[in-house]
């Protein structure tokens, strides 16, 4: 599962930026996402996806990198929820 499409939709909705103009492998910073905008966007992602993003992660430089982090966080959350649902031995 990749969150890339959902992130692209969120960027379109929140900032009016067409996904076609934001190459997932290019630097988001070069497209105008400065450190403040990134922080705000991460907060929005947490709100929308009901997840908790790790503290500033240097791998979040591109949209593809961000999608990979969101994928990982979601996978960990799902695994954790599954574990909690298993009956104790």
């Amino acid at each position: 599962m990749s969150s890339l499409k959902e992130l692209q939709d969120l960027i379109q909705e929140k900032y009016g930026i067409d996904p076609a103009t934001l190459d997932p492998n290019e630097s988001m910073r070069d497209k105008g996402f400065d450190s403040l905008a990134i922080v705000e966007f991460l907060f929005e992602i947490e709100d929308r996806f009901k997840i908790s993003m790790p503290d500033p992660d240097p791998s979040i430089e591109t949209l593809a990198g961000l999608a990979a982090v969101v994928d990982r966080v979601r996978a960990e959350a799902a695994a954790s929820a599954e574990q909690q649902q298993q009956p104790a031995a």
Partner: protein
């Protein structure tokens, strides 16, 4: 070296009467009120003068991260002022921003309180701090205009932007900067802040749901006055030395030839006539003018029961027998009280009055309070063909008084 004379060469407003200073002045001359009822959900009726602002003219959605409405208004008004001044051709390190702001980003702060405390798991947006810090508007202006010299914020309640303009003029006069962008911004028309002002018992009363009564609720110097209404907006001036303005053949709206500061040092919120008089005298002394040389005063005139007679007394102390020759109006009746931006907006109105030799009305004053005996400008506004100098007064909670004195260029 003698201090240089300071000229006003650019004006910019984002005001309740629009973003064209000349059209705004014309609307004021017609006595049009921008006050409207709002927040019907509040227990007590509230009115304010708000702005229909299209932030997309100034910012992409991405650029709006952490930029409160108060900063948006500041960026827009300062940009208008700089464009109005023409080709400034200034070294960025010799360009300063002097901004007044009373509260900062009230919208961001209110959203943070609501979001953070409404529910147990409430969250606060991460950019709340940079959005609401009171110096954000001046810094946003600096980034937009690439001003790399002194960039300061003056938070002196209702005197904030008058103080900012005076400080900017001082920096220009002393040669600390070549050009100053000076003014202020305020935007705090959110329910929590309006309720706080209501609790302070300073806002004008009117019957709930009556838009006409709301529009005319602020009655400076009138017997039946009951206080002010809040307004939001921003106004900026471009200041440079008269010599520099002449050299680049810039339009000169007026000279800022005097300013005066004082503190009552008596009470945090109750004004003091001798304190205000000291600021008025200081402005006259700096300009080298006598009271009778000044034909118009754009009064602080908040229309509170306590404040208006004290301002009248201060003017009488300074003008003495010449008081009848001084025309006075408080334009807050029409645009509301912009608090930290009031001094800047009213400075623009004052120098446009000088430019046009037209005085905006002291609106909604059917019957003057005998304790406020002043030669008020009539409801239709008035021509002042001999007007050569005018003052704009700003008197703040905290007791800090600021007076700006303009002369025709």
């Amino acid at each position: 070296m003698a201090d240089a004379r300071v000229a006003v060469t650019g004006l910019g407003v984002v005001a309740p009467h629009g973003d064209d200073p000349q059209a705004m002045f014309a609307a004021l001359m017609r006595g049009e009120s921008a006050l409207k009822p709002l927040f019907p959900e509040l227990a007590r009726p509230a009115a304010a003068a708000t702005i229909d602002f299209d932030e997309s003219r100034w910012f992409t959605k991405l650029q709006l991260a952490g930029v409160d409405r108060v900063s948006q208004l500041a960026v827009a008004a300062a940009d208008f002022a700089v464009k109005d001044a023409g080709a400034l051709d200034v070294d960025p390190e010799r360009l300063g921003v002097f901004g007044g702001c009373g509260m900062g980003g009230a919208t961001a702060l209110e959203a943070a309180y609501r979001g953070g405390m409404a529910t147990a798991g409430g969250r606060v947006p991460p950019l709340t701090i940079p959005a609401f810090m009171p110096n954000a508007p001046a810094s946003q202006v600096a980034m937009r205009q690439r001003a790399q010299g002194p960039v300061f914020t003056y938070s002196v309640a209702c005197s904030s932007s008058a103080v900012a303009i005076a400080e900017a003029a001082k920096a220009v006069a002393r040669g600390e900067v070549d050009v100053a962008i000076a003014g202020g911004a305020e935007s705090l028309i959110v329910p929590g802040v309006v309720m706080a002002w209501q609790a302070m018992q300073t806002l004008a009363a009117f019957p709930a749901g009556d838009a006409q009564a709301a529009a005319t609720a602020v009655k400076p110097f009138a017997a039946d006055r009951s206080g002010f209404a809040l307004g939001e907006g921003a106004a900026f001036l471009v200041l440079e030395s008269e010599e520099r303005a002449r050299a680049r053949q810039a339009r000169r709206y007026a000279l800022l030839s005097g300013w005066g500061h004082s503190c009552d040092a008596t009470h945090l919120t109750k004004p003091d006539a001798p304190g205000q008089a000291r600021a008025l005298r200081a402005a006259l002394a700096m300009a080298g003018l006598r009271p009778q040389d000044v034909g118009y005063c754009n009064a602080h005139g908040t229309a509170t029961k306590i404040g208006d007679p004290i301002e009248r007394d201060a003017l009488a102390l300074v003008w003495g027998d010449a008081i009848e020759g001084l025309k006075v109006s408080s334009t807050k009746a029409l645009h509301g009280h912009l608090l930290g931006a009031a001094g800047a907006l009213e400075a623009v109105i004052t120098l446009l009055a000088l430019q046009h030799r037209q005085l905006p009305p002291n609106a909604h004053c059917a019957e003057i309070d005998p304790a406020c005996q002043l030669n008020l400008v009539g409801a239709q506004g008035e021509a002042a063909p001999a007007l050569a100098a005018a003052v704009s007064s700003s008197f703040a909670f905290g007791g800090s008084n600021a007076v700006l004195l303009f002369e025709r260029a």
